[in-house]
Symmetry: D2
């Protein structure tokens, strides 16, 4: 199929998937107000892959076909730079506020593709599955999510010794077509809006827990797969008052696998705790994408903060300047880190060119993200408390009063209220909260999971 | 009228007040889903004043009439202790999550009552107005708000030198009946659900800014008074998923005074910057109420955090223990401060018995509140990320799966999901965000406003 | 002997004790420049017990004899208040900069006295030893230290399984006169200047480690007891340039027990891990003393900081004000805690009246102490960097230049330089460092040791 | 003279300079125990410039003569890399614990050399003086200090309006030979051990303060120049117990100019506030040197911390790991910053190749240095409290006990005690304190001085 259009992406979401919210089934995500804004955002980005202005930034010829740059396994520094340009485009188009747009998991599939050289030392079929999945996902320009987190289990007991053995996702049988899996997996962000899901655990399994040691991919409409959404923040979001929520909410979901059959050709690891222990390998390019995206997010924060500070005539205040300078400092430092990561790129085992990501850079970017949240809160709190939003202007009776009294130092009240609405949506809404602390935490879970040698994160609960 | 019932409170809200939200007028707040939950909470508390079990805690005989304890000007330590009991009941019934319920502003009116002895050195009529207002509000058991904050003005210029002289609330004329005021005043929390509003600025006025130096009270349905609400967080809140938002959202509002007439008998300060400079005096009892309420709030945090930590079997984790112990420590310290404040009570100038509130206690309680927020985020973030809520259980198809997979260590999944919903609503919703940082900030603005000798708070933007 | 004079205290130090420093034996501590300043300070305080002005604050009749208030087992709130007055005198005379002056360990002996009622459930002789020791120490007005810390052992192994079984202090034999003990015990502050030492471990022993479970008292000149001093900060301290070091350095020491005989009548616990597990009980009054002393220390910090800030004309700087207000806030909070601790006093099991010390107060006081250090550094660093000291004035050639150029905003250069020298000595010298971080840590070790349920302190290394 | 030997450096210090300490004149610094250790360190480094192994790292041919790399104005990236190698050698030889060794000020002179192209737009003679001074200092291989700080003046008043107009260094006259200057200048680190001093203020002067706007160089033995030392930390330092103090103490000093004549040919700015305002320009290469040195210092901290943690068997403790990982993270980040600074090098206006130092990198390095201090304290405090030092082993009587009891997990007690002594000297001595907080502060003063647009540093007093 090659590069998809937005319309093609939207159409594919109407595939009978079983999506639940607040005890009600959502038959068609493409018409539900909890999803339409984000779907529109993603569809526009898919369309941009065809736009002459952005086509060459976002897509590339690879083995005779045009694919999204996210799916390109870079063979040299130049191709890695190409990918960086594409990552920056995706993140800038979404103000750094989305984390699971298609580019992210595409990078995971690149990692899987490269890791195949390790898999094949154990099992050539699985290795071929991995490479084939890269072909499948890149040639069909898929939007993927991943599901790595086990939850609600008793952490004082081993995975295999839980009271309910079916709680944690595991293999319960085999058929001619594939393995049968059962159990829960959580934090599948964007799941209701993805084509497929990559499934593997973010904590290692022990030698006698083989049934829990599996990695695979699956379409979202696989029979028996239930997608249970957390709150749909965008459901009632006024675009004037919650401009980010309305456009970018990715909707986290829990996946319940009710004896789902995973086709044999979509399995990359099967009952193999030892191989699974090394799967962290595949995260390199996705981490690079996330760290570049965080820079964009911080830049967005800084821009908004500077505007609002200036409009409130607080730009000469020393405390405002100090808060802003913290943001600037972190952005500069992260840019330096990303430059070095690229300059010190290396050829990974499977032949793909990889950025050298020091754990120090990753941790710094998480800390910077935390700091940025706090900074925004410190800067904006009192200003934002009564953020109404430009919709207040729409009434002919009260509108003129709003227009007169809420202009601040701006040239137009509408502009001012929109700016404030963006800022408020960055820090005070559930969307804002979840893109910050939660997504950072999520990212850590995903990414530090197997690196038990790295001390788990400072100042976070175990 | 004496002590009101919930029904009387509700009925009084249907008084033709001009309430706006998102460009639409709300004709009757008592039937709008953005308000009904909070109205019900307050109505139940008004009813409790008649309940034999709580009547003597919440109300008291004063000068021959039964009034709410909040309105009692305590004459001795025992009466101050009586007020404390009532404050604790209000705060416990609302988990410390409300800040502007009637008890709060009642304490301000007590302050005003006592301060009359100062006012009368300048003007006996205003002093009598102050005392009369205490009679009026206490005998009619009113629910009040206050509006102290000037916003959207250019802070590099003086109040009287703003580009638009009408932006900041000020006197524009006089009639036989009263003074005519025009301009904006913000952060009137609970304004759409209050009976009346106390209005005075939280920053001093200079000698030549007499038109901006006024303090008065006004019913919410005063002609020309427009109440512009920020987002109605409760509007679409599922009680199972956002139990706090649905019950306790207080709705901040901006008040636009479109040439409103303030009756002469409701004016406490008129064109008198010098007298206004001392108005901070009246805050003592309200601050006491707020600090006691914060203890309840922290206790609520601690309880929820302990439950969830135990259910997630993380109670033996050192990092969890450290986070919990921070909460415990702050609660203990604040209790000690409050005990000392009462033990060191003193007779205020107007004859009322006052708690001795060191600025140190106030600042500590704000810092403790900040720390508690962070602690809750640290403890709960990863657990809460997919908080769906008990409504997921209501469907016969997906409900059994939810019931099986989301129980955690709890005895009932419903109980578990409700607990998680409360926790999420404490930290991740706009309600939760606004009760923490914002309300703290608001409180600071209100309360440190005139104490310019006290350095404004650490780590907050100027 | 009853209340001693300073001369008696000094004379008693010439008892043949074996004191070592830097590989050299110090024959007479009373003539060594590393000790004379501190000895003078303590001797003056002993003399004050006879001074009509302070006698009744510092001493009290108890069972027919006059004893130091520190040794008084208070029988009611009034006697506890009496002890508080004495504690404040000691701490104010030493600017809160000493922690182990005689009053501190006297409070431990009070604890031991009260705890005797528990000991006697196990062993009446040990209980009688405890009570007799209180008589002995109080009637002879002794200056004691304690030695609780085991060090240099492999913490991954149990106490009884160390490579060198003699490393940790333990019982190696018995004679007619007493038990024979061998091994190391560290952090015996003031040991070279004390009359006797209280010895017990600050970590519990397991059931099969009976030889390591012993508590006793011993004179510092016991044969075989070697006192190895850390650096003698005061040795070369110019009183003009290091006024605190020169007067208050308490000298930490390691004690090496080379088969020392502990008389049977000085043993309070013998081969009894179970009884030892409860010894924390005796710390109550000593902790009270320490917390009161920390308030004095913070007050001293605040006073110096305010003076220097004013002299440097930085008192209007917002950042200076914020730093100072942190100090003020902590002092106020701690005062509230101490008032509540006294107001909520209770009768301990042995009949002594005890302050109710919440762990929250203790932890807060440690944190406050840390914060004060940082605050002082933040405030003073740049000012102090060239602190010379008033001795620079003593030369007729360069003195006049110093006098002219180093006066700052003070009325006299000598006064200014002395003030700066005190401030520098508070934060920049080894004395200052050790009275802050280290002594706090030491106190924690001593006091949280057995309370393993309390999470060990935040932000400190395990 | 070209590259000097250590002996030549030492000999040159005996030049009649007027050095004062504690009211006493020091006639010959080369024989005074407060200086001999540091002089030996520097002399050995001068000798290394002749050592075949290090000669080509430390020196370079420039315009026909061999000069120290520090004095090389790099003309291209390769020469900048050469300088970096030399900087790393100096900092590694001194464990990053010295900040003012000759390499540092040599870099300032390189800055001055390059800045001459700006000076000459105003005054060609001063520009030639600047270039000539580079020739003079580099050809004579001088050890310089600088003196930038005005102190003890009333900061609420302008420089020119101080009560004593002679307090702040300024021009008071002219002679045939040069300008006559009078007043105080502080924080001249290493002044008693330097050959000459660079003098200019670190705060701008206003247009009417021309007499205070001067930049020049001067030999330390200039008539009328008095060097007043702060405490000589090394004076009584046992090399076994204070190994860093004994080797690296740089001795800060105040300089009193008692009508000193500054030769016309050593003046670079004269009564020119406008030109002075741009002098920050010359700091670039010196800042680069400092930031590279800080990395070495952090590496030293990390190494010691890792050793001690391992010996104390605390390396598996999570809290230790977290503290160590903070250090590692900061080192990695700073390395990335330094790589980018070099990779993005640019040709400065005067033709010299410069590293691109973002203010973000500088601030991060200061913060990292602060964090490292805290980390070391957190890690080492309790271990270090009784650090005696290997000298305790030297006595045949007590030595064997020390040897037995203080070995910890080390292979030799002497090694262990030496390690602990280094660690203690890093954080607990006045040397350690002054190399951290103070030197950082000093550096800030020097380097942020003129960049008033940059908010002064967070968390530091104004």
């Amino acid at each position: 199929m090659a590069i998809r259009t937005g319309a093609q992406y939207v159409k594919a979401l109407r595939d009978g998937r079983e999506v639940w919210h607040a005890g009600r089934r959502i038959d068609d995500v493409t018409t539900h107000s909890g999803f339409t804004g984000t779907i529109k955002t993603l569809a526009e980005l898919y369309d941009k892959q065809h736009d002459p202005e952005t086509k060459d930034i976002m897509t590339v010829e690879y083995e005779g076909e045009r694919i999204a740059c996210g799916y390109l396994p870079p063979r040299n520094p130049e191709e890695l730079a190409l990918k960086r340009g594409n990552i920056e485009l995706w993140s800038q188009q979404t103000f750094g506020q989305m984390g699971r747009y298609p580019d992210f998991c595409a990078q995971l599939v690149v990692g899987l593709f490269d890791w195949a050289h390790i898999i094949e030392k154990t099992n050539t079929r699985w290795a071929e599955n991995a490479r084939a999945y890269h072909r499948h996902a890149s040639r069909n320009d898929l939007c993927l999510t991943h599901a790595l987190t086990d939850q609600y289990y008793d952490r004082t007991k081993r995975v295999s010794e839980q009271e309910d053995p079916d709680l944690i996702l595991h293999i319960v049988g085999e058929t001619h077509d594939g393995a049968v899996v059962r159990g829960l997996r959580t934090l599948a962000t964007l799941a209701p809006l993805s084509d497929e899901v990559l499934v593997y655990p973010n904590r290692p399994r022990e030698a006698d827990e083989a049934d829990y040691a599996i990695a695979f991919a699956l379409p979202m409409n696989a029979p028996g797969l239930k997608i249970v959404c957390r709150d749909l923040y965008a459901e009632h979001a006024d675009t004037e008052r919650h401009p980010l929520t309305a456009r970018f909410d990715e909707v986290d979901a829990a996946l319940i696998f009710d004896d789902v059959i995973v086709p044999w050709e979509r399995i990359f690891i099967y009952k193999d705790p030892k191989l699974l222990a090394g799967i962290n390998y595949i995260h390199t390019w996705a981490q690079y994408s996330t760290m570049l995206r965080l820079i964009t997010k911080l830049e967005g924060f800084l821009g908004i903060a500077q505007c609002l500070t200036r409009l409130a005539k607080r730009n000469t205040s020393i405390s405002s300047q100090m808060l802003l300078s913290t943001l600037m400092q972190d952005i500069e430092i992260l840019r330096a880190c990303m430059k070095v990561a690229a300059d010190r790129g290396y050829r990974a085992g499977g032949g793909t060119w990889a950025p050298l990501l020091s754990p120090a850079y990753r941790i710094h970017s998480i800390e910077a993200s935390d700091r940025a949240e706090r900074t925004m809160e410190g800067l904006l709190t009192s200003t934002l408390m009564l953020s109404g939003g430009a919709s207040d202007l729409n009434n002919s009776e009260v509108g003129p009063f709003i227009d007169r009294y809420f202009r601040g130092g701006a040239t137009s009240t509408r502009q001012h209220l929109r700016l404030m609405a963006v800022a408020a949506d960055m820090v005070m809404t559930p969307f804002g909260s979840s893109t910050s602390a939660c997504k950072a935490a999520r990212w850590i879970e995903c990414d530090n999971a197997f690196t038990t040698s790295t001390p788990t994160r400072r100042r976070r609960s175990a």
